[in-house]
Amino acid sequence: KVRKDKAQLTVSVKRFAKKLESISDDEAQEILAEKNYVAALGTCAQDPVGNGSSVSGGEVYSFQTPKRSSKMAELASELAQTPGQSVAPDHSKCPEKTAKTPQSNSKSCDSKKKEFLSTTPYRLRKRLAAPDSYLESESEYSASCSEDDDEEDQKEVSTVLSGGKTPAKTKAASTPPPRNTLPKKIKEEKMSNLVEEYFEAHSSSKVLTSDRTLQKLRKRRLNQQTLNDLLKKAPLAYAAEIKELNQQHESLFSKWMLQLHLGFNIILYGLGSKRDLLEKFRTSVLQDSVHLVVNGYFPSITVRSILNSITEEVLDHIGTFRSPLGQLEFINKRFKEDSSLELYVLIHNLDSQMLRGERSQQILAQLSSLPGIYLIASVDHINAPLMWDQAKLSLYNWLWYETTTFSPYVEETSYENSLLVQQSGSLALSSLTHVLRSLTLNARGIFRLLAQYQLENKDNPSYPGLSFQEFYQQCREAFLVNSDLTLRAQLTEFRDHKLIRTKRGADGVEYLLIPVDDSTLTDFLDKEDEDV
């Protein structure tokens, strides 16, 4: 991947333009314009941009070759091998050494690592089963295609990995120049190939990743609290440099103030939390003026609450409004009447889940266009600029400032339901017990039955759930219900509390499921047993 990237870089802009050219002749005019634009972009990229953000478009947006998941492992071991050094020269110099190192690596790591490596041939084979001329021409993995034996596990893989690496590397060094001069036809072919690959990959619902789950790691699940504690222990890397960056940004504060007063609004982008920076701006510059801080990342923030805080706390208005538009009109009127009114609005994460909707953006944009309101906001999402159309952009009147801080998003991510499910597990468990404690004994029994059945079937990946009829039978046998109707009533109650989910199977039968993962369910049953 690294090598391919390099090759792509060298030909970035020109090739992009050429690719465009080859799409079709009908659009020649259009493409010409685009080409001009690309050229213009290129020339502008050559301008000395202070912080080096002048990466040409081709690098970021170019089509990339499909990747295999095993590459991750490869890259990881590669990175691990060469601490503090760049990877490429090391490998090309001493192939023997690299041939050895993955092995030693797999040995030195614990058993998990071994298991991890052993999974790779599987995936490799699956991937390469699909005919792929482009990849084969790269020849990187075609060798490993023939190796089918499961027994030749990590050893084989590692040798293949390192063996395939060196020739490819030397090749990569020589590939860029000829690629430039490749005839147009080949390029066309390649592109159509890429396009096909893209759709192929996205049409198949089959996923080619390993089936391992976090549970098999038997690792203690962390909750938010311990996570924070642990992170506090880990030292923040490059604190000095980050501080320097921040100081650079802080020197812009007076400029921001000037530009805010001239009717522009300021938006900050770049990697790293911009919360501290905005806070600093607030405390250092806005101390004596009326300002409103909106934590956009907060999961329950709404435009309405922002408007409310403006009308109630800034304008001292008591009373409610029928619609946010009316409220906006009111604010508009007040600000027009009293030109001395000034309000600074700081919005952390303007692109958060709650604020990114079309309507809320529209309202915020109109708000920001008021002459008395100065907006300074931050965005993090890569697709954040897609939120705004022309009309909104002109209302916002943004000035973009790149403020890359590299500081961790502590606050911003703390509200997010982390995808590693760490905290949600405990949450679900406690809610389960709470709800069930308030139910009758029979109801608890019903739920237990369902839970037990689900646990029994936990190894069956295609387990659809318990069908209603069967469940009714079981409940009757356990003397929990006496009729179809009572069971239904009970189930409705469960459903209202989101304890169960029903779904109709292909045969029209209703299936019941508890939407909680197995470990939580086991914990729950254990607890129940203790109680009883």
């Binding site: 890259l75 990175l79 760049s86 962390l222 890397a237 490059y238 001239l262 954040a384």
Partner: protein, 657 residues
């Protein structure tokens, strides 16, 4: 700083008023038309405004102002986002109409208005009732005043409803509204105005025939945004009055944004404003960027530091180096002498600008009519070319001169006349001679014409003579002679003159169209840091993220992070490592694998001792760091949790096939 802000405000006002002026032509057309309109159908105007949506607001505002002043007080501006249903539309309409009638005739009938506003049930009948009462009232008022005011509006002023963005209205609402109002057209003279951004065909695709037949549509085309841009550039950049100038690159960036991104004149103006702000903010000598008279005054009050600043300007250094050594010393040592010189130089610069503009226009007259437009069709392209470098050294200039040498006479004469006009109207003092010279050319041309006329007479007569003779051979011979003599004699005369003209223009260009960088003290008035402007107006947040994640060394200047372009050091921040690893994955990413890979990398950094220890605590910390990195990536929108498989995340960015 105060002065700067004032300047900015002034400029902005200028711009806005200018925009309005440019629209007014169109508006008058519209108003005239609406006066004439009287038919059973609903009169409708369709304004095709073009794609520069952001400028429309201004147009409509000025349009409604004009209408209000000239025709009718009853105007409602409707936007699609306010009117999701017919009910909302009616409500909005009523509200606006009644409000504007309050403004118009602030009669005592507050109670009536209040009642009407409280009444939520808005319908066409209530609207008609209201309209009748209002018109009666105004009638009575005018009667009472014995028509002294002679009623600025007519007996029954029409109600104008403007749909700002017709495309985004739901068709149902529009249809209903049109059908309903067509029923009441007798009682309520209604005029609709549609604002259209795409093409007039949209009316027919939005409305079925039965509805559109109720409308009597007249089409109006507003000026295209490109024309707006060129007028603005004309008024703003190509005058000597505005002391602030744009450098070549900046102008190029602004024009590129305009042409390739939004076609929005407003955004162009915004960019221009930003340039002004940046210039005044970043260039300490920009105090001198004002009208010449003020600038001279300010030069006198320059402090020592500012003088030093001037001495540090590269263009000034060049100037100093070109001087005699005594003068050099004086320039560098004595502030007073420096100030004098600066005043002179500023004056030079001012004169240069004055001359520059007129010569540029003159050259534009020539080049804009050449086939294939080697130097560009628009004056802005010519302007850019001239700013960029010495225009007479470019190939395009050569070819355009070549072409100019082949122009025919009538074109040449009209061009010369235009040039004379330009020079006469310009304020530059040095152009008297030029004008004279050009006029001389003109008279020479006229003389030539007269001569040619005479000669043609002669030749015709000689031909007549020839015709008397019947000798075919002789005839042929004389004809050939005649032809040859004509070609060699008369045409060379014209050609010589033509060459002379072109050469003269060329000399003008060489004299006056020197690029601004070559002028001393150009830094004071020219803003040239295009990259700043680009960063602020046309930012690339994705690129910034990409570089930060891929190559943290760009931001964090630590040697440990320095690495090749493609690879990444394993000492990079956690999020960079996680990002790098995730780039290697396909559509779905197994969290466990990811974690493994991550911990392998991180462990390697920690060193062998950490490996040996491999205590739970270290493991936990790595785990926690991984979680943080992953959730940060999720916040940034690179991944999202996936339900397809347990403990998997889906990759959201391109490249993961």
């Amino acid at each position: 700083q105060q002065i700067r802000e004032d300047l900015n405000k002034q400029l902005l006002d200028n711009l806005v008023s200018f925009l309005k002026r440019s629209y007014s032509e169109l508006q008058e057309e519209t108003t005239e038309w609406t006066c004439r309109m009287k038919s059973r159908e609903i009169p409708t105007a369709a304004l095709v405004l073009g794609v520069n949506v952001t400028d429309h607001d201004l147009t409509f505002r000025s349009l409604s102002e004009v209408l209000q002043n000239n025709i009718t007080p009853y105007i409602a501006l409707l936007e699609a986002k306010d009117c999701p249903g017919i009910k909302n539309l009616m409500q909005k309409l009523m509200g606006q109409l009644m409000n504007c009638c309050i403004d118009e005739d602030s009669l005592e009938d507050d109670s009536y208005v209040q009642v009407s506003q409280n009444r939520i049930r808005c319908s066409m009948t209530s609207l008609i009732n209201w309209y009748e009462s209002v018109t009666k009232k105004t009638d009575s008022v005018t009667l009472r005043k014995k028509r002294t005011s002679s009623s600025r509006h007519w007996q029954s002023p029409p109600v104008v409803v403007i749909f700002k963005d017709m495309e985004s209205f739901t068709t149902k609402v529009l249809q209903d509204f049109i059908v309903i109002s067509s029923r009441h057209i007798r009682e309520l003279p209604l005029v609709l105005i549609f604002g259209i951004a795409t093409s007039p065909m949209i009316i027919h695709s939005l409305l079925p025939h039965s509805v559109s037949s109720l409308l009597c549509i007249e089409l109006f085309q507003s000026l295209s945004c490109k024309e707006h841009l060129s007028t603005i550039i004309d008024k703003l950049l190509l005058t000597a009055q505005c002391p602030f100038k744009l450098g070549e690159k900046v102008l190029q960036v602004l024009i590129n944004i305009f042409l390739y991104h939004d076609f929005s004149v407003q955004n162009f103006i915004k960019g221009f404003q930003l340039c002004i702000v940046e210039h005044f903010y970043s260039q300490p000598l920009s105090v001198l960027c004002c009208q010449l008279v003020d600038a001279k005054k300010r030069v006198n009050s320059l402090s020592h530091d500012q003088c030093e600043n001037i001495r540090r300007l590269p263009s000034f250094r060049r100037y100093v180096e070109s001087q005699v050594s005594e003068k050099q010393v004086a320039l560098l040592m004595s502030d007073n002498f420096l100030k004098e010189i600066i005043q002179n130089l500023l004056e030079d610069l001012h004169v240069y600008h004055e001359n520059y503009v007129s010569v540029l226009r003159c050259l534009h007259v020539f080049t804009s009519s050449l086939p294939k437009y080697p130097l560009g069709k628009q004056i802005r392209e010519l302007h850019c070319a001239c700013l960029e470098n010495q225009v007479w050294e470019t190939e395009e200039y050569e070819s355009s001169l070549q072409l100019a040498r082949m122009l025919n006479k009538s074109d040449l004469v009209t061009m010369l006349q235009q040039c004379v006009e330009i020079f006469v109207s310009s304020s530059g003092k040095e152009f008297d001679k030029t004008v004279e010279k050009l006029k001389e050319f003109l008279t020479q041309f006229q003389k030539l014409e007269a001569e040619a006329f005479q000669e043609r007479d002669v030749s015709v007569s000689s031909q007549k003579e020839l015709q008397k003779k019947t000798d075919l051979y002789h005839l042929q011979k004389t004809l050939l002679e005649l032809k040859e003599s004509r070609r060699s004699k008369k045409l060379t005369k014209f050609e010589m003159l033509r060459f002379e003209v072109v050469d003269y223009i060329d000399s003008l260009v060489r004299n006056y169209l020197v690029p601004a960088d070559h002028k001393t003290l150009h830094e004071i008035v020219y803003f040239n840091t295009a990259s700043v402007l680009r960063g602020h107006l046309n930012a690339a947040p994705r690129t910034a993220l990409h570089t930060a994640l891929n190559n943290p060394y760009c931001y964090l200047k630590n040697q440990a992070l320095k690495s090749d372009a493609g690879s990444i050091s394993n000492k990079a921040p956690d999020i960079c490592i996680a990002y790098k690893l995730h780039l290697e994955c396909g559509r779905l990413i197994n969290l466990v694998d990811w974690l493994e890979a991550f911990s392998t990398v991180v462990m390697a950094v920690e060193g062998p001792n950490a490996d040996a220890a491999s205590s739970d605590q270290v493991d936990d910390i790595i785990h926690a760091r991984f979680i943080r990195a992953v959730s940060e990536l999720e916040l940034l929108g690179f991944i999202k949790p996936s339900k397809q498989k347990t403990d998997h995340v889906a990759r959201l960015t391109w490249g993961g096939c």
